[in-house]
Every structure is written in structure tokens, then in C-alpha cells.
């Protein structure tokens, strides 16, 4: 076997999901972030640096999101993807145009792309330049300058879901992958945290494995 780390799509998804939960992200949000990760992988984009940055900052974040006022365009302030990224996608899917500054534009684009795969919803975005792009194009154009600019998202069309190609995925660096595993470890429970009988310890026989 090669000495390089090989991470499957299933491992990608489960590790991002568990890491988010380990960092106190609500499970349902974590599920969407994991799907966003897969959508980015299908676009040959490694989501791990953004996920790790979000998770490292997550504890200190407080939400500054304003409540939608019912108009067809909603202005958010600073928006943190791990808190509200999936909900922003929900609202954009309802036809509301969202404008905000976000901490992880590539993850939000991944969420938009994932909604294309799961629901057949095509969303477009711009970086405060009135040039509406698909998530795929926007992802290619992301740089330090665009990341700091206001980000707008709107519904473009609804069609049949588009299948992802999950073969030949980009692979993470071993360092990043190990850092992600540190977050997943947060949800693990030592066997003797519950009764030892439940944990299968005692007569050496399987009881809970």
C-alpha cells in the first residue's frame, strides 16, 4: 500500500460531521457542512483549511445575524458559516437575496453547490461587483481580496438534482487530517464513563462491541 494517506469520501464526510459536533456545532448544521465539504471535493477543492479555521474560531464567535425582515433582499452583518451558513442557503433557496460578509466563502459556496446536488437548486453569487457567478466559477475566483468583500447570494433556477462525481477526490495533508481528528475526539466517551458492564469489560466476552 502506498505510504500516502488515502481518505475516502465516506471518511471525509464522517470526519467533518464528527469534528463539527465535537466543536459544539448543532448536528443538523454539521450535516450540511459535511455535505458542503463533499460538494467542494467533487469540485477538486480541499475544504479542510476552511473547516479547520471555522472550527478553531467557532467557540469565540457570537452571532451578529439580523432577522430577515420579509423583504426580497436581506442584509446580514458578519455571518459565520458554522452557525448560519445552511440557513442562509435555505433563505436564498426561498427566493430571498442575501447580502453579508462571511468568514468562510468557500464553505458557503460548497453549501450552495451541495444544494444543487441534493435539491437541484442553482444559486448564484457575487463579490460586491454585480457579476453573478455559479459556485463553481466563484470558487475559482476566490482570493484574499474577494474574501473580505460583501458576498451576495440569490436563487437562479430550480431543476433536477445533479449527481456528484466522488471518485478521484483531492486528498488532505496528513497534518490537517490529524488536526481534524482532534476535533472528532471530542465526541468520544471512555468505556468506563458508563458502567463497566455496559462497556463489555469483565468476563472478556463481547457485550457491547
Amino acid at each position: 500500500m502506498s505510504t500516502n494517506l488515502h481518505v475516502s469520501a465516506n471518511q471525509w464526510r464522517m470526519s467533518i460531521l464528527k469534528a463539527c459536533i465535537g466543536a459544539h456545532v448543532a448536528r443538523g448544521v454539521a450535516e450540511d457542512i459535511a455535505d458542503a465539504g463533499l460538494a467542494l471535493l467533487a469540485l477538486q477543492h480541499d475544504p479542510l483549511p476552511s473547516v479547520l479555521a471555522c472550527l478553531n474560531n467557532h467557540q469565540s464567535h457570537t452571532s451578529t445575524v439580523t432577522w430577515p425582515n420579509g423583504s426580497d433582499k436581506v442584509e446580514f452583518g458578519q455571518m459565520h458559516v458554522l452557525h448560519h451558513g445552511p440557513s442562509v442557503i435555505d433563505l436564498a433557496q426561498s427566493g430571498t437575496t442575501i447580502s453579508c460578509q462571511i468568514d468562510a466563502p468557500d464553505l458557503l459556496l460548497g453549501l450552495a453547490q451541495a444544494r444543487l446536488h441534493s435539491h437541484g437548486v442553482t444559486l448564484h453569487c457575487n463579490f460586491d461587483d454585480d457579476d453573478w457567478r455559479t459556485p463553481t466559477i466563484a470558487l475559482q475566483q476566490i482570493n484574499a481580496a474577494t474574501s473580505s468583500r460583501p458576498f451576495s447570494l440569490r436563487l437562479s433556477q430550480t431543476d433536477e438534482p445533479v449527481a456528484m462525481n466522488m471518485t478521484q477526490l483531492p486528498q488532505p495533508s496528513r497534518e490537517n487530517w490529524c488536526e481534524l481528528q482532534d476535533f472528532t475526539a471530542e465526541i468520544l466517551v471512555p468505556a468506563d464513563a458508563t458502567s463497566r458492564e455496559d462497556a463489555g469489560v469483565g468476563d472478556g466476552q463481547t457485550d457491547n462491541d
Binding site: M1, N10, G28, P86, S87, D90, T167, T206, D207, N208
Partner: protein, 565 residues
């Protein structure tokens, strides 16, 4: 049913489906028997139909049976190879627990034909199982331990030129039992997405079932090899009758249970196929002579199977004894009903009021003679969609579907301590799901999301604060903690057989019911619970071995019964 565009869609009559409120109860699911829709059954039909090409391309074992072997099989012009590593194992290290670190044999299902370098390099990883590193060339990873008592007995007898003791073969039923069969991207192996477009592999757990079937072939070759090395000229091969009666054992624990909770669409599809098959069969007006004869043969086989099915667990043995009594009492009636109009519907009705074990045994029985109208449903058992969130649903609509599909959850009194007594979590030691008593300081984020009634009731309470016209998108922005249960509830509204209607964290929960349900879909039999949390089973016991498998005998794999084979 999946049909090619050139084939006319065949329509089947069917009666009304049994409702999820009847089917999706743990006590019932924990009474399931394998059916002809089970994954190993559909695999055997596929292998037989295609004329299975199996070749043993390497067999480098010493006199003790240690070394490696490779089996090459072709499915739809694609080669797959089971690589087997057999090694010495000290008795004190032989344990079925998932935390074991050494095994009698380790296996890889390889995508293609491995060369000598592959086989050599993979050995270091396969023999440490979860601690190894794998890539997309590896499809399935497994390991097995010998049933030492039976293995030594059979090897000894064959080496002396004698066949083994029939009763011992029947009672134990396998030479090796697997303790894990991993697939779908675990440890870096190939994802299902990597091979889902291959027509032979779209059905759930097909590669895992193929792996176990090939492991069985290896164990049969291994026992002959070891006996021959020991006995020399006196050695005789294991007889065909015994070869067929030896399946593969398996020890399964809690790790399997969360799968059923985490894949609601997939489970819905399995259940819906099973219930649709039953509904089709119940609509049949009359059984022809062949079907009647087949059914009577199945009754004989079932009677024999029940007599031979013995377990140590007192609770389970009590259920088996009750099933024997009910079956024997009603059997004369069954033999009459098969000759009457709407025979299968009458047979199902005849079991109402009896144990759920007899009711579900009858489901398996009535499907058996009717492969022509149910086997095609096996093409509908995968999940190509997964759960979906509908953020544009109104609060009022979500409230209505919660009332319709989760009334059972709303009726549970969560103020009772017993309804929240257990917690499902992931163990630090082996990253495996476990269940234990809830402690006051348990952190919610460390709990697996199996407390469905608690989530449903919390969601319902918060929805009351919103206008019925409000969008779910707005609710979830304010209450992200409900996102998973909203997605689940909306999914269940479309896939109502995807949710077990019991509280999985209640004090009286029996995880073994979940295990048996899933294992029945695999095709497992001889359920042998060792507690309410793990069970031994056998796979392929009584099934044709590779060298005898044919379209004529591939369907003759109902419940193993030594006395009638």
C-alpha cells in the same frame, strides 16, 4: 422495479401494505427471518444466472494452514479477488470482541487481479485490520476466527479418512466466524460511489456478501488442506453434504444498530420492498400445484429448522419454543389453506393473534414460492437520494406531518426517568458505537442522535411559537438545534418505513432487535443472541458451494435444515 426502456413495465396486483405503525416496531423487527429478497439470496441468484467464474489463483499455505490464498471471481467481465491471510493465533488472543488485535485469518476483497507485490504489501495492513491504511483498490476488509472445536474435529476426522460428526456440524454450522466485515470507504477503502455504476454492484452490501461467500470457499479449502497434510494417504475430502451445511459464522454487536437509525431512506426502501412483496403475494388468487408442493416442502424444512435451532439464551430459547409450538399446532391448517383461494393472504391472516415470530416467519414462507413476482423488487433496495431538507415548507405543514408520522413519539411521557435512561455514544477505545446508562454529567454533543421522541417533542414545542405560515427556513435560522430532526421528519413523511416507532433510549430497549432486523436483510439465520446486545448468526449455511451453484439450486436456500438436505 427498474426496467430497461425496451421492456414494458409489468404491473402486479397487490393488497394494501401493512402500515408502518405495525411493521416498524422493534419487537416485530426483532422477529424477522431472512427472505428470498435478502442480499445473500439475490447475490446467489446473480452468480448462478451469470455462471460464476471462480478460480483459486494462489494457495501458499504450510502444513498448518498458515500463509495466503487468492480467489479470483468475475462479475460482469470485472475481476475481483479475495486475498486471504491465515496465521497462527494463541488461544488467549482469540476473541470475537471488536477490540481484538489478532485473528486466525484476515481478508481483503481486491478490485482487480493483485500481483505478488500487492499481496505481499497488503499483508502488513490486512493483518492489523483497522490499524492498516488502504486505498480505493481495496473494496472490503474482514477477519475471522476459527470455531476451534469444530475445526479441529473436522480436520482430525478427515485426516483419518472419516467424515465429521453430523450433529456437531449441524449444531455449530461454521468453521470460521467473521467478527467484522468493513466496506464503503472505511479506513480509506473504496467508496460505494467508486463502483456504484457497475451493474453487478448496485444492490446494498453486495460486495460484503460476496466477500463472505468467498471466505466460506476458503474455509472449506483450508480444512481439506490441513487434514490432507496431517493424514497423508488416509485423508478423505469433506463430503458435499457437509460442505453445504457449513456456512460462515458471524458475531455482531452494537456497531450495526446505529446504521438503521442513520439511514432512514435506505431502511425505508428495504422495508418497503419487503412489504410490497408481501402485498403482491397476498393478492394471488390461487397457488398452482408446483407452488403448493413447494410450500409443503418449505413447511417440512421449517419444521426441521426450528427443531435444530437451539440457543443458550433463555429468553430467546423461550421464544423459539413458543414458535415451535405455534407452528406445529397450525401446520395442518397451513397445509389446507395453501390449496384454497387467496392462499397467501389466508396464511398471513391465520398467524394473526400468534407471536410476531410466527407472523414474520410466515411472511418469509409465503414469499418463497413466488420469486417470479417479487425477485425484481431487489433492484429497488438501494438509496440514491438520502435525506433532504425542505426549507420552504410552512410551519403548519410540518406540524401536520409531525402529527401524522410522529404521534407515537408525542405520546411518550419523557418526564419518566425510564424513557431517558440510556445513552448511545462512540467509544474512545475503538471508535465503535456503544450504549450505556445515562449519567447526569453526560454531554449531549457526545450522544448519538437516537433520542427521536425527545427531539420531536422539543421541535413541536418551539414550532408553537411561530405562525403556521412561517417558513421552516426562518425557524431553523433561529433554532439550528432542530435542523436534524426537521430534515428527518420531512424525510420520514416521504419514506414512512424509515423510522422505528420506539424510544431507543428507554430503559427497556433491546438493541438485539435492531441487529436481527438488519441481519435478516443480509440473509442471516440461526440467530443466537449472547445477550440483548450481541448475537452470533450463520450466513450461507445450507447454500450451494461455488462448485455446485447453478440456476437449478440457487433458490434452494431457505432456512438451513440438516435433516432435509
Amino acid at each position: 422495479m427498474v426496467q430497461s426502456s425496451s421492456m414494458p413495465l409489468q404491473k402486479f396486483e397487490q393488497v394494501e401494505l401493512r402500515p408502518p405503525s405495525q411493521v416498524m416496531r422493534l419487537e416485530r423487527a426483532g422477529s424477522f427471518f431472512p427472505t428470498r429478497l435478502s442480499f445473500l439470496r439475490s447475490l446467489l441468484r446473480k452468480l448462478a444466472r451469470d455462471g460464476m467464474q471462480l478460480a483459486r489463483t494462489s494457495f501458499e499455505l504450510d502444513d498448518q494452514g498458515y500463509g495466503h490464498a487468492v480467489y479470483d471471481v468475475v462479475l460482469d467481465h470485472q475481476h475481483y479477488a479475495l486475498i486471504c491471510y491465515s496465521q497462527a493465533l494463541a488461544p488467549e488472543n482469540r476473541t470475537d470482541r471488536v477490540i481484538a488485535e489478532a485473528w486466525d485469518a484476515c481478508f481483503l476483497l481486491f478490485d482487480g487481479q493483485p500481483n505478488a507485490t500487492d499481496i505481499d504489501q497488503l499483508r502488513a495492513h490486512a493483518t492489523v485490520q483497522e490499524a492498516g491504511e488502504y486505498d480505493e483498490r481495496v473494496l472490503v476488509l474482514s477477519r475471522a476466527n476459527k470455531s476451534v472445536r469444530l475445526f479441529d474435529h473436522v480436520a482430525n476426522r478427515l485426516s483419518k479418512g472419516e467424515q465429521p460428526d453430523a450433529e456437531m456440524i449441524g449444531n455449530i454450522g461454521y468453521l470460521m466466524r467473521t467478527t467484522a466485515v468493513y466496506g464503503n470507504g472505511k479506513f480509506g477503502m473504496a467508496d460505494r460511489a467508486d463502483f456504484i455504476d457497475r451493474p453487478s454492484l448496485s444492490q446494498p452490501f453486495r460486495l460484503e456478501m460476496l466477500t463472505v461467500y468467498l471466505i466460506r470457499e476458503f474455509t472449506l479449502d483450508l480444512i481439506n488442506h490441513v487434514a490432507k497434510c496431517a493424514g497423508g494417504d488416509r485423508f478423505v475430502e469433506l463430503g458435499d453434504r457437509f460442505r453445504r451445511q457449513l456456512g460462515i459464522g458471524n458475531s455482531t454487536g452494537l456497531g450495526m444498530a446505529p446504521f438503521l437509525v442513520g439511514h432512514p431512506v435506505l431502511i425505508n426502501n428495504w422495508m418497503l420492498v419487503r412489504e410490497t412483496a408481501l402485498a403482491r403475494v397476498r393478492a394471488i388468487n390461487a397457488a398452482d400445484n408446483n407452488c403448493q408442493a413447494h410450500f409443503r416442502h418449505l413447511l417440512d424444512q421449517t419444521h426441521q429448522h426450528l427443531q435444530e435451532w437451539r440457543v443458550d439464551d433463555e429468553y430467546e430459547m423461550g421464544r423459539i419454543e413458543q414458535l415451535r409450538r405455534e407452528f406445529s399446532k397450525l401446520r395442518p391448517k397451513f397445509e389446507k389453506l395453501i390449496q384454497q383461494g387467496h392462499p397467501y393472504d389466508r396464511l398471513i391472516e391465520a398467524t394473526q393473534g400468534q407471536s410476531s415470530s410466527l407472523q414474520e416467519l410466515m411472511v418469509s414462507l409465503v414469499l418463497e414460492p413466488n420469486g417470479n413476482i417479487v425477485d425484481g423488487l431487489c433492484e429497488c433496495m438501494e438509496d440514491t437520494f438520502g435525506p433532504r431538507l425542505d426549507p420552504l415548507m410552512s410551519v403548519g405543514e410540518l406540524q401536520r406531518l409531525l402529527t401524522k408520522h410522529y404521534d407515537w413519539a408525542m405520546q411518550i411521557d419523557l418526564s419518566q426517568e425510564r424513557e431517558n435512561a440510556m445513552v448511545w455514544y462512540v467509544s474512545e477505545e475503538k471508535l465503535e458505537p456503544r450504549m450505556g446508562a445515562r449519567s447526569p454529567d453526560h454531554q449531549e454533543r457526545r450522544e448519538m442522535p437516537h433520542a427521536i421522541p425527545r427531539k420531536v417533542q422539543a421541535l413541536t414545542a418551539d414550532l408553537a411559537n411561530y405562525s403556521t405560515d412561517a417558513l421552516i427556513a426562518e425557524v431553523l435560522m433561529a433554532c439550528p438545534q432542530h435542523r436534524d430532526i426537521v430534515r428527518r421528519a420531512q424525510t420520514i413523511a416521504r419514506h414512512p418505513f424509515g423510522e422505528f416507532q420506539d424510544n431507543l433510549v428507554a430503559a427497556e430497549i433491546r438493541p438485539i432487535d435492531l441487529l436481527r432486523c438488519k441481519l435478516s436483510f443480509f440473509g442471516a439465520s440461526k440467530f443466537d443472541p449472547r445477550s440483548d446486545r450481541w448475537t452470533r448468526i450463520t450466513l450461507y449455511q445450507g447454500a450451494p458451494t461455488a462448485r455446485e451453484l447453478s440456476p437449478d439450486n440457487c433458490a434452494d436456500v431457505f432456512l438451513p435444515a440438516f435433516g432435509t438436505s
